[in-house]
Each structure stands twice: as structure tokens, then as C-alpha cells.
Amino acid sequence: MPTEFSARVLANRALAPGLFVLELADCEPLVGCLPGQFVMVRGEWGRDPLLPRAFSLLSARHGKCELLIKALGRGSRLLERSAVGATLQLLGPLGRPFPVPRAERRDFLIAGGVGLAPLLWHAEEAVRAGAKVELFYGARQEAELVLRERIEATGCRVQFTTEDGSFGRPGRVTAALQARLDEEHPTLLTCGPNAMMRAVVEIARARNLACFVSVEGEMACGIGACLGCAVQSAPGAARAYHYACIDGPVFDALQVVLP
């Protein structure tokens, strides 16, 4: 059951300009939640920004949780300034997770930007569960490839890519994926910019691979009440729209049309 609760900022770690991790305490209501699920977050400000912001969990364990955030607009920039000890209002856990890792399944995780958050957590859980996963993590340049030590600590096979070639394989993350798929036939799990996820879905379709996407889009409520987070259903579906907050954010790529 999602719960409304106050969480305390334990740490606010800058990783790169505009990229940071918030570590929060008092998150007992998140016990048992899974990679791909998210929380709605509001800070201690006035009525502007009015709406909470959705963030995928980078981890939730032992009453703590972590969020990986990119400072983009008004909400995230205010969160970037959160002081240690400050209180945030959370609602969660929300949404449906990625398929739980299984030893008999092989997952390729394709992450772009802060889309890393649920997939890094998924990789950590997979290793713990004895499942094999490989991570493909791309960014424009080296500085934006964050949390690399922690990624390597998972022990998974990892392919970093940068568009400018400053680190890892030069080019797009989907090219790295393509190359590797000539050898393997995994399930694809992806989270990141829509353009990247559309390319991953294309690849999955061409090679007939199972594929799961985590869809981001405007959300007001996170609980299925505002109907603002509609995602177009795949042609032929019984309903015109699915809802990212309650039917997703993780969808089987066959269910929806990415925006």
C-alpha cells in the first residue's frame, strides 16, 4: 500500500554538475518495494511548485532510500539545494516494478541518463539473486556517466558508452547493445530518454526479444486519480490509454506506444 510520509535528508551528494543523489531516512513504508517502482516527492516550499515530482528508486533498504536526480526544472533544482536534515514529503511505493530477476532469465539493462537508477538497483538485486545481467549505460560525455564505481562493484558485465567518445565505447548505447545481441538472446529492460527507449524497442521487435520500458511523463497524482499520465495503448488494445502511474511505469513494450 502506498503511504504518505516524511523523510529526512541524510545526504545530498553531487555526482556531476546537475546530477546528485539524495539519501533519505525514515523510509520504512518503502520496505519490500522493487526496482522500477517510484515515489512522489515534495519539498518544504510554498504552493509553488504545487505538484510533487516522481522519482524512481535507486535503492530502498533498511528504512533508507536513494534517489538519483538530474537538476532540470523548478522542482529538481529546489531538491538539489536540499540541506542535510531537511524534511521531504514522500508518497510511495508506487507503480509496477521491472520483472523480478530470475536465475533462468538473462537481462540486458539499457540505461540512459538518470534512467540508470532503477536498472542499477535491478542489477544489484539480480546479482544477489544469482541472476546474470549485463548493463549498457550511455551518456553524452564522461562526466555524465555517474556511479561507475558502484556499477562496477556489482560485478556484472558493463558496457559504458559516450556519444563524444570521452569514456567507454564511442557512440550510442543502442549500437553497443546491437553488437552484443549478435551473441545473446536476452530480455531487454530499459529506462532513459524516450528516443533511446524507442530505439531499444525497435531492436527488440526486430530480434523478437522480450522488452520492458519504464515510461516517464507528466504526473500529477501518482495514484490513478488525475488521468494525466496517459500513455497510448498499442494498436488493437481494449483501452485507448494505459496509465503510467498505476499500470506502469514499467510496461511490456508490446502494451504501449512510447511518446
Binding site: M1, P2, T3, E4, R42, G46, R47, D48, P49, L50, L51, P52, Q89, L91, G217, E218, A220, C221, I223, G224, A225, C226, L227, G228, A230, V231, Q232, R239, A240, Y241, P259
Partner: protein, 307 residues
Amino acid sequence: MNLRVPFATLDCASPIWTASGTFGYGREFAPYFDLARLGAIATKGISPEARAGNPVPRICETASGMINSIGLENVGAESFGRDKLPFLRQSGTNVIVNFFGETFDEYVACAASLDALDGVAALEMNVSCPNVKKGGVEFGVIPAVLTELTRACRSVTKRPLLVKLTPNTGDIVALARAAVAGGADGLSVINTVSAMAIDARRRRPRIATTYGGLSGPAIKPIALRMVHQVHTALPEVPISGIGGIASGEDVVEFLLAGATTVQIGTLSFSEPSAAARILDELSAFMEQERISDVRELIGALVVPAGC
């Protein structure tokens, strides 16, 4: 301390209702507080047939507010009665069904079919939604049409009929009088304000339908003015005040201006238990100010002479 208020023939556990389209079909909010504390729940707007709603993007945030153009997506009257009403009926509060149609006859047919459902406490006619080209705003802005539509719907239901007014007018009092002339038992004031936002980089409207409805604390001062104007002109007509209510003090402001009840809208998105918090704040306010009966507040604004 008494929080109960009568509204037309309804008996409300508190003056706090939740507003149409912002509280789903009730069930979505049951995990967060006891719905029986509410005076009423106004459902998502129901039309005779199910509607898929508008293309995305449907919502965007603005300063202290949001714009929406959901397009009155709903499950339709039949599915509502079958799938949604049973939960609401046992929630312990009054169920007010918000409804609309695309044509005059659809409005009347919708009112009649909802009237037949067991467990519906009242109907709230949405003549003010600015989102839908055919069904929405046209019925609500011309007083003569509004009177006629209200009268037609009034004649097919035995339950109290509320008319929800649009703020997109130069004369809210004329619309209020028109609805009352048609037999409205109460007025809901206000619906969303027609508005727009643009994505500066993509040079496109932020809402797929170009214009949408502005709600939230940004519009509270406009809503409060309209409630006061309507109450001043029609002091006998019960008003349910709506627009940006976010705190117990906000509720008191609407009651003082002449509302009998209020509806919590957008705030339920920021905070699913907003209505319960606001009710708690209202009780705390009354305790501090030694007000034993919430009805004392209704219309109790003091306007110093000469203003």
C-alpha cells in the same frame, strides 16, 4: 464541536467535499483516510457513454496551479453504476454524481439514468468544463440556455440538482440566477479557468488541446470573489465553494464568503490525504477561535461600511 451541515436536502458529516475529476471514483483515496469524514464525494464527470478522453499531454504545472485537459474521460453511466458506485455507496459519505452530455438531450438522458441508480445522493451538472468542444462551455455561458437545460434535467430527477458554474464569464451572478431560475437546488462555484501554457523551446502548446482548465491555489482569489458575489446576490441558495483550497483557513474564507460547503480539488493530487488534513485544520481553527458550530461561519463575513 459541530461540523455537520445541511446542503439542500443533503445531510453532510462535514463541509468538506472532494471535487469532481480530482478524486477519481473515491476508491483511489481510500488507503489514505476515512472517506466517511467527507460531507460528500463528487465523482468524475459521467457521460451517457464511456469516453477515452483527450490526447496527451493532458496536464501541465503552472505557478501554484495546473492546467488540465483530460477531456472528461470516464467509464460511462452504465459502467459507473455497475463498477464504481458499489464501492462509493458503502463509503459512508454522500455520493454526488457529476455529469454532462454532448447535446441537450444527452444531458437530460444522463440525468435520468443516474437518477435511477441506488445510492446517488445528488447530481452535479457540469456545464462549465472548457475542455470539450461540443459538450462543455456552450451550455454554461448563455443564461437562457442554462435555465432551460437546468429545468429539463431538474424535471427528470428527484434528487437535489447542483449546477456547477464556469468562471469564464464577465457576469457570474447572471449565470447563478439563470441556474436557479431553472430549478437548481444548489450551485458549485467554480470550475476551472480557461488557460494556456507553451513549451518555449518546442514552440508548442503544453496541452494537446491548446487550451485547458486552470486549477489550484492560483485561482483561489478568483473563486472566492465569485462565491461572495453569488452569495450576496442570492443569499438563500446553498453554494459549494471550489477553487484552490489548500488549508483549513482557506475553508473558513469560503464559508465566510457564503459557501455552505467547499470542495477540495487539485490539492488531492499533491497530497492524497489533503481533504482530511484540511478538515483537521478546520477543527483546530474552530477550537482556537472558540467556534462551536461550523454553521456560524457561513456568510459571516463582516464588510466594514463604506467599502
